[in-house]
Amino acid sequence: MAGCKPKSEPAGSGKKIKVSIDPLTRVEGHLKAEVEVKGGVVVDARVFGGMYRGFEQILKGRDPRDAAQITQRICGVCPTAHAQASVLALDDAFGVKLTDNGRIARNLILGANFLQSHILHFYHLAALDYVNGPDVAPFVPRYEKNDIRLDKATNAVGVNQYLEALEMRKICHEMVALLGGKMPHVQGVVVGGATEIPTAKILNEYAVRFKKVKKFVEEKYLPLVYLLAGPYGDLLKCGGGHKNLISYGVFPIDSKGNTLLKSGVYTDGKFSKLDSDQIKEYVKYSFFDSGTGLHPSVGETNPNPYKKGAYSFIKAPRYNGKPHEAGPLSRVWITNPELSKTGQDTLGVKTIREIGDAAFSVLGRHVARAEETLVVANAVEQWLTEAKPGKETLVSTPIPKSAEGLGLSEAPRGALLHYVNIKNSVIENYQITSATIWNTGPMDDMGQRGAIEEALIGIPVPDPKNPVNVGRLIRSFDP
């Protein structure tokens, strides 16, 4: 079976073998991975982003309010995250002061989709790396030696949960739709707040569904993730990468900008406050003729698919000149909440930081994501009590003639920035630095690999014909 084409001799011979996986499936979008294997481990890696649509160009000259609708279409798994970052940028530009109910309604919409996205990611994108599905398409074909290590009974539990999770994520979307109109792509998140004033009936419908989801997260999702640490324990020991983390913070819990999951940066073992001026995008290896090392507020997007030396349609964002990983691991490491009971019992520690380097691993990222799901679920429970039935969620504010706005938020898969510059009441420039860019971006001008590229180094590929661990590592980021 193919799946990769070893160019020369098998691993272990001391020679480098190039292995490429294209398409790298079970991710949102188009991704290719190319790794060099020597002595059974990855020694070099490149991740290719193979698609360009041109949102930043399409947004030019439009009514700024349309941005929250159009940018949601960047990602059908996390449209609410783009809606949130976009309306934060627009709120900033329009000078909106949100109502509490507007902020809470947005949190309930975004929160329900965080739950949806994390469940979908673990079960429907990642789980087939650890569990064999039924022996029919689309669960076959698989790699000939796919390294599934579960016994029959445990595997069956995994398959049952895969199916149950389909229902759970659908319920999460119903929760989104109750306040957002429909999902994917909500109508209800707009500049100035949210459009659906929650009624007691809506909140009750939401709560009834939420209870089922929370139970699933506590009783199925978290235990299954920790269970994988048994047979797949070696995956807690590889895939660390740069070990630099970034979070912009998400879920505003007051009007002062404090968030449930905190903003911050972790570089070379040190924590610091986020300074968004330090975010720059490099394009030496990207298919863009734009200027390099630019802050998004002066960002340019001029694609050139024929550019020599380039290998990706993704830019390379850097913080303070250094690559950083974004996503649940970053948020949980920076926020450092108390772990779930399952987590504490299994790991024997109270917080993720106490497991140290093991957090920076293939399974560590799944643990962080599952733990974060519970943190968000607990917060949703709180917001349901804070939402005031019948109270206004929207503030109407006219389009400014000239203004700038910055929206910093988090998608389920990581840090998300929207920047808007308005001139003559239309969009003059719109820039988006998404989570996927932080994680799947290519090398920068200084020669530093992107987050996933670096995390691939050292990943075991004992059999280049079945490079299972490459996909496992990449999917652990939920790119």
Binding site: G3, G76, L125, A137, G181, G188
Partner: protein, 318 residues
């Protein structure tokens, strides 16, 4: 267009969807359209003979995966039932277990083995500029394959094509003003390269799961459904949103929504594109029938060929 007989021959044993599920899907939970107006008993019988293992190849171009995600929200039949009992989804980049050449080789094998019979689903737009290089979907023997290559090659071999979502049907957001990628829908590609495979457009940003499952079932049991001038099934896109809007009476009384959060009134002053939009959202609604755009805010006309430019700016009266 293929005749019914030929399409019917693509079927194999056993039903996967109960009649009850099927009817509910097609009529929507509000049951506004009677089944007799849509299907005759022969169709129901044909469906009972079954759809099991009809091979489907699902390819993705310039899209957001939102249509695939929306399809997962199917209520009756559930997506698990569709995947396990109704179709044989041999290629789907977001869902399938396989990756790399394993996945591509399987896709080509199915396309050859079921040539003229399998259904091709296209999600996302197809960029025609720069030799198709704006969307690379895979590689075989170190040679990259573009979405344009794949749409042409598989489009020609398929028995039927479903262009799922506004991007695949008409270009959608990637084809909006300002784009440089030459994004277009399936019909745009087919027209340019003279490909004549019967194609059903199922627009929507995203699609409603019922529209896709209903169209697949129709295609496999009775052939290509009746299509409107934009290639969409009349069954789902035959009625105007505004003319069927629950707020229409309020318009007659002069009650207009004051703001996007106003639950009362007609939304035309706020930019609602309902009058220019044909789809059955007004009765089918979304996410298990819980809500829809107009009750929540406004319709932005996402199922129309001109979307988004025809309705943008979204929040200005049309």
């Amino acid at each position: 267009m293929k005749d019914e007989q030929e399409l019917h021959e693509t079927q194999q044993e056993k039903p996967g969807v109960s009649r009850r599920d099927f009817l509910k899907t097609l009529t929507g939970t509000a049951a506004g359209i009677g089944i007799s107006q849509v299907f005759n008993p022969a169709v129901i019988a044909a469906m009972k003979e079954g759809l099991k293992n009809h091979p489907v190849l699902w390819i993705q171009g310039q899209g957001c995966t939102g249509c695939s995600v929306s399809l997962l929200n199917s209520v009756e039949p559930t997506i698990a039932k569709v995947l396990l009992d109704v179709i044989s989804l041999q290629f789907h980049p977001t869902i399938m277990a396989s990756e790399g050449e394993t996945a591509l080789e399987n896709m080509y094998r199915i396309a050859k083995e079921y040539k003229g019979k399998f259904s091709l689903v296209v999600e996302g737009a197809i960029p025609m500029a720069a030799d198709g290089k704006y969307c690379i979907v895979g590689e075989i023997d170190h040679k990259e394959i573009t979405m344009l290559d794949l749409t042409k090659e598989l489009g020609e071999m398929a028995g039927s094509v479903l262009a799922v979502g506004t991007c695949a049907a008409y270009g959608g957001i990637p084809a909006a003003k300002g784009n440089v990628t030459g994004a277009t829908g399936v019909m745009g590609v087919f027209k340019k390269y003279g490909i004549k495979t019967p194609t059903v457009n199922i627009p929507g940003c995203p699609i409603h799961p019922d529209w896709v499952i209903g169209s697949i079932v129709h295609l496999l049991t009775k052939g290509v459904p009746e299509l409107d001038a934009d290639g969409r099934p009349v069954l789902f896109f035959g009625e105007n949103i505004h003319e069927n809007c629950p707020h229409l009476d309020e318009l007659d009384e002069g009650i207009m929504s004051a703001s996007l959060s106003d639950p009362k009134g007609c939304r035309m002053d706020l930019g609602c594109a309902g009058p220019d939009t044909n789809a059955d959202c007004f009765q089918r609604k979304w996410n298990s029938g819980l809500n829809w755009c107009v009750d929540n805010a406004i319709c932005i006309g996402c199922v129309e060929p001109g979307f988004p430019d025809a309705s943008s700016p979204f929040y200005e009266a049309k």
